[in-house]
């Protein structure tokens, strides 16, 4: 069994988004319930949560934007720039705690106290740009984590895998020119899904040309297409890049039961994907893998999806061979 960390804090529930918004505290409650019910909690190593230092937030976001976010919460403006980005007075502090917890996770991982970890955080991050909140995201958790690995722990090559059904425009743009951070995303084709970026011809620019890779999936597709694209696109790219640490932007909204997309990934499809990523982490990164929650809005399927996700991180689920898995899914 692996030493898997779990980042969770009840204060992550304090970011409230109001009626009609899918990114709600109940998501985390559902996830924790799935993990608890399967008796996994005692097997997981708790990670302390402290607010992130401004120094690290500002490695990704402009001070002006951070200030605007803080002020909007203090004044209780209700939203940050757009009705998608609902806020309450506690949102800013919650976002700081989420980032701080992730940075603590990195410290424990790099100090050898953990093999891998799952970070059950809110608010999510991958749509957040340097100077703007977008699509329920305020601080780009994974982008800040990658910068922290680079600058604090001198990690040379960091691989980000974003399987949220929406393209992580923020993360892609932040590392567009960075040859040392590989951003891979698989998502619903941008002509049919928010935010409209992540087309297959977007491959990074300048020195970062070739370290951005997008796989797009058409509405109605599911397991078979995910397997095909991950096998054809991601596996050879990481074989060449050989990341020393892997970060996951883990969104669970590609599931067939999630009404935020037209993609029909199954529960088994998610497991296949996570097992494939864990194998890559073992092969290139000495197992070092941190999974950070992004989207996923179906309160019905989140408990099981996250139970499986954590079991795979712990190494409790038998890592099936590809052929076995294929025969199972079809």
């Amino acid at each position: 069994m692996k030493r898997t960390g779990l980042l969770y804090d009840e204060r992550f529930l304090l970011h409230k988004t109001g009626e009609g918004h899918p990114e709600i505290p109940e998501r985390l409650s559902a996830i924790m319930q799935g993990i608890e019910k399967a008796d996994l909690l005692s097997k997981l190593i708790p990670i302390p949560v402290t607010a992130a230092k401004m120094k690290w937030i500002e490695k990704v976001h402009s001070p002006k934007y951070v200030h605007r976010f803080e002020e909007a919460c203090m004044l209780d403006l209700g939203e940050l720039g757009d009705p998608d980005n609902q806020i309450c007075p506690q949102s800013y502090d919650t976002a700081l705690l989420a980032v701080g917890g992730i940075l603590n996770t990195i410290d424990m991982l790099m100090e050898g106290k953990l093999d891998n970890a799952f970070c059950a955080v809110r608010p999510p991050g991958h749509h957040a740009e340097m100077m703007d909140a977008y699509g329920f995201c305020f601080f780009n958790n994974v982008a800040i984590a990658a910068r922290y690995l680079q600058l604090q722990w001198n990690i040379g090559r960091i691989g980000i895998i974003d399987f949220d059904v929406h393209h992580g425009n923020g993360t892609q743009h932040i590392f567009d020119q960075d040859a040392d951070i590989f951003y891979y995303s698989i998502h619903e084709h941008p002509s049919f899904a928010y935010p409209g970026t992540g087309r297959e011809f977007e491959k990074g620019s300048g020195p970062g040309l070739g370290t951005t890779l997008n796989s797009t999936v058409l509405p109605g597709q599911g397991d078979e297409e995910y397997m095909r694209k991950i096998t054809l696109d991601l596996l050879p790219a990481f074989e060449q890049f050989k990341p020393e640490v892997i970060l996951i932007s883990a969104g669970f909204d590609a599931h067939a039961a999630d009404d935020m997309s037209d993609i029909n990934l199954s529960t088994e499809g998610f497991s296949w994907m996570m097992e494939t990523i864990c194998r890559m982490a073992d092969k290139y990164a000495d197992g070092r893998l941190i999974s950070v929650l992004e989207g996923g809005y179906s309160l019905e399927v989140l408990p099981e999806l996250l139970k499986n996700h954590v079991e795979i991180l712990l190494g409790l689920k038998e890592l099936q061979t590809e052929s076995e898995r294929k025969s199972h899914v079809h």
């Binding site: 899918p22 757009d82 998608d84 749509h127 928010y194 409209g196």
Partner: protein, 224 residues
Amino acid sequence: MFIDKSMTKNVVAVGPEMSIVAAREIMVKNGIRHLPVVVEDDKLVGIVTDRDIRTAMPSAVLFDAEHAAQLEQLAGVKVQDIMTSGPVTVSPTQTLEDALLMMEMHKVGAFPVVDGEGRLKGIVSVRDLMRAFVSVLGLRDPGVLIGIVVEDKLGQMKKIVDAISELGISFGSVLVARTWEEGKRAVFPYVLTNNIARVRKHLREKGFTLLDPMDWYLDQVPKK
């Protein structure tokens, strides 16, 4: 939407006496495919395209010796020998819609823009129009397209806009497909939100019929 707001103003032009070899070099260097041809006082007399030049050039499959000889001969060929004289032009005060419809009609990729005295003021190409339409479609703003099929009658668009506005959501653009089916139109609002589930649910509750994304099209009726 006047052409002078979207056209390329710093237009590269050549004189009629220039050799076509030199004209080709100018095109390659500037990454352009159309060269307006002007005489004194910027008076437009013609246009030469990369296609005109390619047609006049020797084939690359010729043997080297033969190729060199032909190139030498070509050095004497002037732009005025191969240009289109008196090309179709537009004026700066015509509109982008004019240019778009004229491109479709004349099947050309660019028009020189000239003033009332026939002086060259710019050039407007497919690329300029594309840039303008990428912008008006709102594709650079984070958002998502929704397909709705409605009766082809007055007031439908208002209902859609009202329903989406009720949710406090802004529009990047709205497209309409006119050839949907008898008596129907398909409306495609590009809405600036990630909360697609809420928008879809709200529209369904309002009685709208949403289209399966895999069935979307704009102007070509799919084969039955």
